[in-house]
C-alpha cells in the first residue's frame, strides 16, 4: 500500500482574477521508505505539491490520500491532528522555537501528542545521538550553526514518529559541509527507521542522494526517475 497517493491534483491561485495554475493534474504515489527529491525550476509547483501532500493547503481538485485516508476532504480540526500524528515537516528556515532549548524543541511536538515523559526523554536522547547533537541538548537554537539547527529540525520532524517527512528545500540555507552531514543523517534515518522522505530541492547534492527524482514543470510531472545505488537510472 502506498504511503502517499496523489490523484489528478490541481491547484489554481487567484481563480477570479488572473488564474495561476500551480498544479495541473499531478498523479504520484510514494511507497514506504522512499527517499525522493522533487525538482524543477522556481514556480514549477514543488512547494504547492508539498503543501497539498502535507495538508497545509487545499487543492482546487483532485485528492491526496495518506494510507487510504483522504486528507483533501478532512475537516480543518481533523487535518490538524492528522498532520501532528502522521506527517513530519522540515522547513528551509529551520523554524525552531527560539525560546526553547534543543531538547524542548524536540519534546514540544511529542507533548502535543500527549506522550509520557519517559518516552519523550528516551526519544530525544536517541535522536540527538543519531544527529550528533547530544552535547547541545540544553542549548538554545541561536547558539547553534545553521546546519546544527536544521539537524534539530530533522530530529523534531522524526520525534512524532510520522509516516513520512516533507522537507521544503531543507539545504537551501546550508553550506556544502552542513548539507552533506544533513543528507547523510537523513539517509541513515531513512534506512534505520524506514521513514519516507520527500524533498523539494534545487540542490544537486540532494538529487545525488535521492533514490527517486520527480521533475515538475508548469505544474506537471515531466519525469519520474528511480535511481539505484550505482546511480543507474530507469524511467518509471
Amino acid at each position: 500500500m502506498p504511503v502517499i497517493e496523489v490523484k489528478q491534483l490541481k491547484k489554481t491561485y487567484n481563480e477570479t482574477m488572473v488564474p495561476v495554475h500551480a498544479l495541473n493534474g499531478v498523479d504520484l504515489t510514494f511507497e514506504k521508505g522512499e527517499f525522493t527529491a522533487i525538482v524543477g525550476p522556481s514556480g514549477c509547483g514543488k512547494t504547492t505539491l508539498l503543501n497539498m501532500m502535507g495538508g497545509l493547503d487545499r487543492p482546487t481538485s483532485g485528492i491526496v490520500t495518506i494510507e487510504n485516508d483522504d486528507i483533501t476532504n478532512m475537516k480543518a480540526g481533523e487535518l490538524v491532528d492528522f498532520r501532528l500524528n502522521n506527517i513530519g515537516f522540515i522547513f528551509q528556515s529551520y523554524n525552531l522555537i527560539p525560546v526553547l532549548t534543543v531538547k524542548e524543541n524536540i519534546e514540544f511536538i511529542m507533548e502535543l501528542q500527549h506522550r509520557n515523559r519517559k518516552e519523550m526523554e528516551d526519544r530525544v536522547r536517541y535522536l540527538l545521538e543519531v544527529m550528533g547533537l547530544s552535547d547541545k541538548i540544553n542549548v538554545r537554537p541561536r547558539y547553534l550553526s545553521g546546519g546544527q539547527q536544521q539537524r534539530v529540525a530533522v530530529a523534531r520532524a522524526l520525534a512524532s514518529k510520522p509516516k513520512f517527512i516533507l522537507a521544503d528545500e531543507p539545504t537551501a540555507n546550508l553550506d556544502s559541509k552542513s548539507t552533506d552531514i544533513l543528507l547523510d543523517l537523513m539517509a541513515e534515518l531513512n534506512q534505520k527507521e524506514n521513514v519516507t522522505f520527500v524533498f523539494s530541492t534545487h540542490d544537486q547534492r540532494v538529487m545525488d542522494k535521492a533514490r527517486r527524482i520527480i521533475t515538475l514543470e508548469d505544474g506537471k510531472v515531466i519525469s519520474d526517475i528511480k535511481q539505484v545505488k550505482s546511480n543507474e537510472a530507469r524511467h518509471s
Binding site: 490538524v80 528556515s93 512524532s160
Partner: protein
C-alpha cells in the same frame, strides 16, 4: 510547556516588553495611588465628622433638628445616656443642650449654635478637646467660660480671654444675654463647623435659659466600631420609640454621597487607565505576532491546534500585563504604606480643603479588596486585549506563514 513558552516569549524583545510593562506599572501606580489618596480623604472626612460633629448616632426629639426648638427635648436625657452606655457596642454617650443664638462683640456679631455640654463626658464622644489650638478645654471650673472655633474668633475679631455676648431665647420665650469669656479656641478640618459651633458648660446654659435639669436637646453616641452603627440604631429606635434616632449617614448625607462618588470616580479613573493600557498591549502583541509569523506558521503546520496557539498568545498577553500589574501594585502598596504613615501635607491648599470639609494632611488608604479587584480587572483587560492578536495569529495560513509571506 505552553506556559513556559508564553512566559519566555515576553522576554524575546526585552525593550518592547519593558516599555509596555513600565507603562502598566506607571499607569496602575498612578491610578491606585490617586485612588488611595481620595479614599484616604474620604475616610478621614468621615472619621473627623463622626468624632467632632455627629458621633455615630444621635437621639433627639422628633423635629428638633428643623429649627432647634427648645421645647422639643429629651426629658430624661441622663437616664437615656445611662441606658445607652450599658450597650456592649457603646464607647460613650453624652447629653447636650443645643440652642441657636447670636454671638456679639463690640465690632461684630453672627449667628451661632451654642452647645451646652458636660466637658468630661463630652470629651469621650468628641475630639474637640484634642483640637485646641489656643487656650484650654474647660480646664477651670469657672462659670461662663466658652470654647469657640478659630474661624469664629477671627470673624468676631476676638482672642483668648476676650468676652463675647450671647443673645439667646429662654424656655419661656424671653430674650436673655450672657457674657462668656473665651477659655479655648479649637480648629477642626471643617471651617464652616468652626464658624458655627461654640461650647459652654451645660450648667451655665441651663441656668441662663431655664432648661430643665436632667433634660437635653440631644444625646450623641460614639460606638466602638463603625460597622455597628445600623444595628445599634435599630436597637435604640425600639428602645426609645419617642425619640428620633439618626445615624451619621442620615445626619450628614452629603458625606456619604461624596464618599460614594469618590469610589465611583476612582473606579472609572482606573478603568480609563486600563483601557488606555489595553491599546498599548494590543499594539505590542500585534507586533509580536507579526514578528513571529514563521514560527506561528510552523506551529500550525506541525499540528498545534489553533485553539492552543490562540491560548498561547492570550497567555502571553496576560503574563505581560500581570508582570506590570504585580510590580505596579507592589510599588503602590509601598508608597501607600509610606504616605499612610507620614501623610501628605496639603497645607498649600489647606484653606480650600478645609472649606470643603477635608483635612489638610491626607493619609492615603486602600482596602486589600481593591487590589484583588484590580488584579481581576487587569486579567480581564489583558484577556480582552489578547483576543485581537490571538485572532490574527490563528488566521495565518500555515503554508504561507511558514515561509514568512
Amino acid at each position: 510547556m505552553l506556559v513556559q513558552i508564553a512566559w519566555r516569549n515576553i522576554w524575546r524583545n526585552k525593550i518592547r516588553s519593558l516599555v509596555i510593562i513600565i507603562a502598566v506599572i506607571l499607569g496602575l501606580w498612578g491610578g491606585i495611588f490617586s485612588d488611595a489618596f481620595m479614599q484616604g480623604m474620604a475616610e478621614q472626612q468621615v472619621y473627623s465628622s463622626i468624632h467632632t460633629e455627629t458621633g455615630h448616632l444621635q437621639l433627639n426629639a422628633p423635629g428638633f433638628l428643623l429649627n432647634h426648638d427648645m421645647q422639643l427635648r429629651i426629658g430624661d436625657a441622663d437616664s437615656v445616656v445611662e441606658q445607652i452606655n450599658r450597650l456592649p457596642e457603646t464607647e460613650a454617650a453624652a447629653a447636650t443642650i443645643q440652642i441657636t443664638a447670636m454671638a456679639s462683640t463690640a465690632s461684630s456679631s453672627t449667628g451661632i449654635i451654642v452647645n451646652g455640654i458636660a466637658p468630661d463626658t463630652y470629651a469621650k464622644v468628641s475630639d474637640i478637646s484634642k483640637l485646641m489650638v489656643n487656650g484650654d478645654y474647660f480646664k477651670n471650673d469657672r462659670k461662663n467660660m466658652v470654647v469657640v472655633g478659630q474661624q469664629l474668633a477671627d470673624k468676631l475679631r476676638v482672642k483668648l480671654h476676650s468676652r463675647i455676648v450671647l443673645t439667646l431665647q429662654t424656655v419661656t420665650g424671653d430674650i436673655i444675654y450672657g457674657a462668656f469669656k473665651i477659655e479655648g479656641i479649637y480648629r477642626t478640618h471643617n471651617s464652616e463647623f468652626d464658624k458655627q459651633m461654640i461650647y459652654v458648660q451645660k450648667d451655665d446654659l441651663q441656668s441662663l435659659v431655664g432648661f430643665p435639669s436632667g433634660a437635653a436637646s440631644l444625646v450623641r453616641v460614639l460606638l466602638q466600631k463603625d460597622d455597628d452603627t445600623k444595628e445599634v440604631a435599630e436597637k435604640l429606635r425600639s428602645q426609645f420609640p419617642a425619640e428620633q434616632v439618626q445615624t451619621w449617614i442620615e445626619l450628614s448625607p452629603m458625606q456619604q454621597v461624596l464618599s460614594g462618588t469618590m469610589t465611583q470616580m476612582t473606579i472609572i479613573f482606573v478603568g480609563i487607565i486600563l483601557i488606555a493600557l489595553a491599546f498599548g498591549i494590543v499594539n505590542t502583541m500585534l507586533m509580536a505576532v507579526m514578528d513571529r509569523t514563521r514560527e506561528i506558521g510552523m506551529l500550525l503546520s506541525i499540528g498545534m491546534r489553533p485553539s492552543k496557539v490562540f491560548g498561547m498568545i492570550v497567555l502571553e498577553t496576560v503574563f505581560l500585563s500581570l508582570t506590570g500589574a504585580v510590580v505596579g501594585i507592589l510599588i503602590s502598596i509601598g508608597t501607600i504604606y509610606w504616605f499612610g504613615k507620614s501623610g501628605i501635607n496639603l497645607s498649600m491648599i489647606a484653606q480650600g480643603a478645609n472649606a470643603m470639609g477635608y483635612n489638610s494632611v491626607v493619609y492615603p488608604a486602600l482596602g486589600a479588596g481593591f487590589y484583588f479587584q484590580l488584579a481581576i480587572m487587569v486579567v480581564v483587560v489583558a484577556i480582552i486585549a489578547g483576543l485581537i492578536p490571538a485572532r490574527r495569529a490563528i488566521r495565518l495560513k500555515p503554508a504561507e506563514a511558514v515561509r514568512g509571506d
